[in-house]
């Protein structure tokens, strides 16, 4: 997507074209939907885990089959995301 944007920025007339605007709108929207879906899932997982720690669920949860915490969505490059970016001069 970023390469697409870079190429599109180089042609201002093309960027202003109606069809091009609709296309880039579609692309942006699709990417956003995917990322928001992942975000929503992770938010719900967090809420679930937090709720299980509150009283009374903390005592009763395991009785009803909710012993384990839910896990967040994993990314392929989770390790890289966790690591701080290296800066060199």
């Amino acid at each position: 997507m970023s390469k697409f944007n870079v190429v599109m920025e180089a042609y201002p007339d093309l960027k202003a074209n109606q069809n091009m605007m609709q296309l880039s709108e579609e692309l942006i929207s699709t990417e956003n939907k995917v990322s928001f879906a992942r975000q929503a899932f992770n938010d719900q997982v967090m809420e679930y885990n937090t709720y299980k720690q509150s009283f009374p669920p903390v005592a009763l949860a395991s009785m009803f089959g909710h012993a384990q915490d839910a896990s967040l969505l994993a990314f392929e490059d989770s390790a890289e995301i966790q690591a701080a970016p290296k800066v060199s001069f």
Binding site: K15, A16, N17, E26, N32, F36, Q39, A40
Partner: protein
């Protein structure tokens, strides 16, 4: 901004305020009770101090009156809740909003639909319908008491003035209203307040119509009761509204924090708030019904004085600061709309009115500007094209669109001006061409003796599309006839040559008569001989006044970089050579073609006089190397 913490804080504040509200209602009920008892003389003021008042002050009466008041309030509340609640679509209709249909051509509307869908995914509720308010201000609302019958409304100003991120922030804010049940809460509060108001209304009517035909003791009592009810009712509503506004403000903070949670981008909603602050109309709605949904809007819909107890929204500055603590306090207006393709200036379109020969101003051509016109279109050129079309005689236009008579038209265009030659050509056609076509040609010859120069190439363009409809056999016959006609006078004129080249260049490809060679694009060095031929051709074809041929050629050669070419003597430029050169140049790499065309342009403008012939030649060359150039408009 720690949005989870901010949300917790807002929720706790709301709970406190709601508790306060309930206490207020309770105390009102008690007050009303006391009032009622007092009014009907149950409690005499002298007897208050005496112990024997206990007899009158019994719980039964208290409870009776208490329940009467309670039921009144409840009745009023339910009535209001039922009228306000239900589907959000009703609210949208009340505001005269227009439903946005999916798949709309308007890019702004489609964007807002996409954003709403994204936010629905982010917040985990079904996608609500989106309504459009026809207002210039930046505002939005969410209506409906549950996620399943919720709607979102936005103003036209919102979808046009905000960037995509800011729009996302606004929509996320509205979604959090839906998700956190703010509408339901508000409707309950409004309902209860209406119930209290009902007490006041009862008191008001008692005041007006009660106490007419009763004995004096009760009369006084009823008036007192009525007065008391009015005070409690309207006073209660007044203070209740203040509390309700405070609750609203807390919910707005909660919604802002939730918006940041959904979008994970505080700049979006902060940017939207800043834009509202910077905008002239801000978020004020013109529709008078907006008072009813003032609590559901994104930002204040009514102009209020600076600090107002009844404000449903916190001040803009406070909201921005809670999201962006480091804000510098300035509302700057930043335009976000990109400039669309620039329209042709007014003076340029005025100049298009002239229909004289295509003589260009030297300044325009010296810059080679018209080479940049290749592949581009602007308003003045379209106007010029429309003019040309209007000037063409109707029969000729019709002939160009009919596959039958278009052949006649092309034959007509190549007929010689010399009448003897013309007769010869027509004789040939009589024998060789399709019968009807010959008749048509004769008709055209008789009706239209000549056609002006600038009409010929456009006519050719029109005819090309019609000629594609011929069958293979018809095309072969047509091609043979055309070649024969042109060769008949044993000298080829520029126009005839141009016409032949253009026609066959396009149509041969259509009818599969060329073997498409997927060859590697050539660069200028490899085609330098061809360039020399074409440039020389151009140099000799114009009546170069005041400059020698060599000088013009040298000037043009500059444009091509350093190629080792020289002006060819006129005798060496044969037709076959030109044809071959053009074929080769068509294989030039696309990035080098403009250079060649600029060199050609240099030749044309060198003598500061451009004739229609030169322009036609240039256009033909451009067309034959697959760089279509629009007609030159000055």
């Amino acid at each position: 901004m720690n949005f989870f913490k901010a949300q917790d804080h807002a929720r706790q504040s709301t709970t406190k305020l709601v508790v306060l509200f309930s206490l207020a209602v309770l105390s009102l009920i008690i007050l009303t009770n006391l009032l009622a008892m007092f009014a009907f003389g149950f409690v005499n003021t002298e007897q208050l101090t005496a112990a024997s008042t206990q007899r009158q002050f019994d719980w039964e009466t208290f409870l009776l009156i208490g329940s009467a008041v309670f039921v009144t309030i409840l009745f009023g509340s339910f009535y209001k809740i039922l009228s306000l609640g239900g589907s959000g679509a009703k609210v949208a209709e009340m505001m005269d909003a227009e439903l946005i249909i999916d798949g709309t051509k308007d890019i702004h509307k489609q964007t807002v639909l996409n954003v709403v869908e994204e936010m629905a995914i982010a917040s985990g509720i079904p996608v609500p319908p989106v309504y459009l308010l026809h207002e210039d201000s930046i505002n939005a609302f969410a209506a409906g008491n549950s996620p399943s019958n919720a709607v979102i409304g936005v103003t036209r100003g919102t979808i046009e003035k905000l960037s995509r991120d800011e729009l996302q922030g606004v929509i996320a804010h509205e979604f959090s209203h839906i998700l956190n049940g703010d509408m339901r809460l508000n409707i309950k509060l409004i309902g209860i307040l209406h119930g209290i108001l009902l007490l006041g209304i009862i008191g008001y009517y008692l005041l007006r119509f009660g106490g007419s035909s009763r004995n004096s003791k009760d009369n006084g009592g009823i008036v007192a009761l009525a007065l008391g009810l009015v005070v409690i009712g309207y006073g209660g509503t007044f203070f209740g509204n203040i509390i309700k506004a405070a609750v609203n403000r807390q919910r707005e903070f909660l919604a802002d924090a939730s918006a940041v949670q959904f979008t994970r981008n505080p700049d979006g909603i902060a940017g939207a708030l800043k834009r509202i602050g910077a905008d002239a109309v801000g978020s004020t709605l013109q529709n008078p019904n907006s008072v009813e949904i003032s609590h559901a809007l994104f930002s204040e819909g009514i102009q209020r004085s600076f600090i107002n107890l009844f404000a449903t929204h916190p001040p803009l500055e406070k909201r921005i600061r809670s999201i962006e603590p480091n804000w510098d306090g300035k509302f700057e207006y930043k335009p976000i709309i990109e400039e669309p393709i620039k329209e042709a200036s007014h003076s340029q379109s005025q100049r298009a009115e002239k229909t004289g020969p295509l003589i260009a101003g030297a300044s325009l051509l010296n810059s080679g500007a018209f080479v940049d016109r290749i592949g581009q279109l602007n308003a003045s050129q379209i106007e010029y094209a429309q003019q040309i079309l209007n000037q063409l005689p109707t029969e000729i236009k019709q002939a160009a669109h009919n596959p039958f008579s278009v052949r006649a038209l092309i034959y007509f265009l190549v007929l010689d001006t010399d009448s003897d030659m013309r007769r010869q050509q027509l004789q040939y056609l009589e024998s060789a061409a399709d019968e009807g076509v010959y008749g048509e040609t004769v008709k055209l010859v008789n009706e239209f003796p000549d056609l002006s120069v600038e009409h010929r190439l456009p006519l050719l363009d029109i005819s090309l599309s019609t000629l594609r409809q011929l069958s293979k056999q018809q095309y072969r016959l047509f091609k043979n006839n055309l070649n024969a006609l042109v060769a008949m006078d044993s000298k080829i004129q520029l126009f005839e040559w141009t016409l032949q080249k253009i026609l066959f260049h396009h149509l041969d490809a259509v009818f599969g008569q060329t073997i498409k060679q997927e060859s590697k694009p050539l660069n200028l060095i490899q085609t330098q001989n061809a360039c020399a031929v074409i440039l020389s051709l151009l140099v000799y074809s114009g009546k170069q006044v005041g400059m020698s041929h060599e000088a013009i050629f040298a000037a043009a050669k500059e444009k091509l970089g350093d190629l080792n070419i020289e002006l060819l003597p006129a005798t060496e430029i044969s037709l076959t050579k030109v044809n071959d050169s053009l074929d080769q140049l068509a294989k030039l790499t696309p990035l080098k073609k403009p250079l060649l065309l600029k060199a050609c342009a240099k030749i044309i403008v060198a003598d500061q006089q451009i004739s229609a012939t030169e322009i036609e030649m240039f256009r033909a060359i451009a067309d034959l190397i697959d760089c279509p150039m629009p007609p030159l408009v000055v």
